[in-house]
Point group: C2
Chain length 235, copies 2
């Protein structure tokens, strides 16, 4: 995420982007410019431009009846993870090298929040804490192009993320992997971070693929179901 400069387009854009990150918009929702405009007390154009931007960045797709969150195909997931594997381990390693004490604290705070929500079984909270964790180390990445690219590729998965925590053994595996990464960060060991992040990436890809496969199978059984409201609420 960058800078909410001061124009209406950016306001709407970052608002929607945040909602996307938090999985507050489901795939059955339809985002309509007039509706968003009304909710924010503005005209169509800024809302529309924000939506178009999200489309051009690949988060949404335009339909004949409103905009919808993009659904990832299995090929998409594989492809996106191939890119992530090339970038994230290396970037995390550089973050481990350059990390400040502040970032370290944020990382630990996020990790604790993850453990808590995992223990409490709150999957939505877990997903949010997960975003915190990645944002924390991403802040330590000096290369802003690298950070922005990674951030973008991560955000594509928000629509599937919640599902990955459903299976307890997968979730446990996720928690272990992240703990290892966290430890390596605390040890300021870039190479360990890199290796563990690489392992984590492969496990994550597996998890996403299997979740998505199940989703697609379920959708094939029952290809019906439509309609949905947006779910906004900002000023």
């Amino acid at each position: 995420m960058l800078r909410p400069n001061e124009n209406l387009v950016d306001v709407v854009y970052f608002d929607l982007r945040l909602k996307l990150q938090r999985s507050e918009i489901s795939t059955s929702d339809r985002l309509v410019d007039t509706e968003i405009a009304a909710l924010n007390g503005i005209s169509r154009m800024p809302a529309r431009e924000a939506l178009l931007r999200l489309v051009s960045e690949g988060y949404l797709v335009g339909t004949t009846r409103g905009f919808a969150v993009r659904e990832l195909s299995l090929e998409d997931i594989s492809g996106l993870f191939e890119v992530r594997r090339q970038l994230e381990p290396r970037a995390a390693a550089s973050a481990a090298r350059d990390m400040s004490a502040t970032v370290e604290e944020e990382l630990t705070a996020a990790m604790m929040r993850i453990r808590r929500s995992f223990a409490g079984g709150d999957m939505r909270e877990l997903a949010a804490a997960n975003v915190d964790f990645r944002n924390a180390w991403l802040r330590a990445v000096r290369n802003r192009h690298m950070a922005a690219t990674i951030s973008r590729f991560m955000d594509y998965f928000q629509s599937v993320r919640l599902g990955t925590f459903a299976d307890p053994s997968t979730a446990q595996q996720y928690l272990d992997g992240l703990s290892h990464i966290h430890e390596a960060f605390l040890a300021h060991d870039p190479l360990a971070v890199q290796d563990r992040m690489t392992l984590f990436m492969f496990a994550a890809e597996e998890a996403y693929l299997s979740v998505r496969r199940r989703q697609l199978e379920a959708a094939q059984m029952k290809p019906s179901s439509r309609r949905g409201k947006t779910g906004k609420g900002t000023a």
Copy 2:
């Protein structure tokens, strides 16, 4: 580059993107929506939306007096190349593995065009042929997310590219490096492609940094000079 679907925004967007790739828009030019609209016989909004999209993708920057091509700082160049180094060698390797005969021919055709324009001293033609070469192998990259990301990162350098061919020894080095890559492609040797592409990336980074450094020094001497027209011409 994707598909020119059929709406005016896309038409303008791809037109501008092509002009950017061909270095037909200089850093002193100012792109103004009304002007582009008039040239294409359309209203402000589609032109404006295309410009905003280019801004959000990082190709342009908005000023209070029209949009301008983004100038890369030395930090930008280093950062962008760090990402490119992570992606391109690997992607080129996969292209070498999966390449069809058609792509192989295109690659050779581009290589010949590069040699011709290099011998003829036509730098603009050389830059265009360079774009052909990368597009050829990029087409063989199955992962479209990978290809799109690489394509995007390459395009950031169009504003500097022409300058890198100015110095004869640098240009010769560039030609040699590319020839080696081409050979490796023809040999269908993914690992050789990967290694040579890696070497090429480092050399390219050096070249861009030094060109840009000279540009910035020159600009500091003579900080004046303004004004400039767009340079369009489509229907």
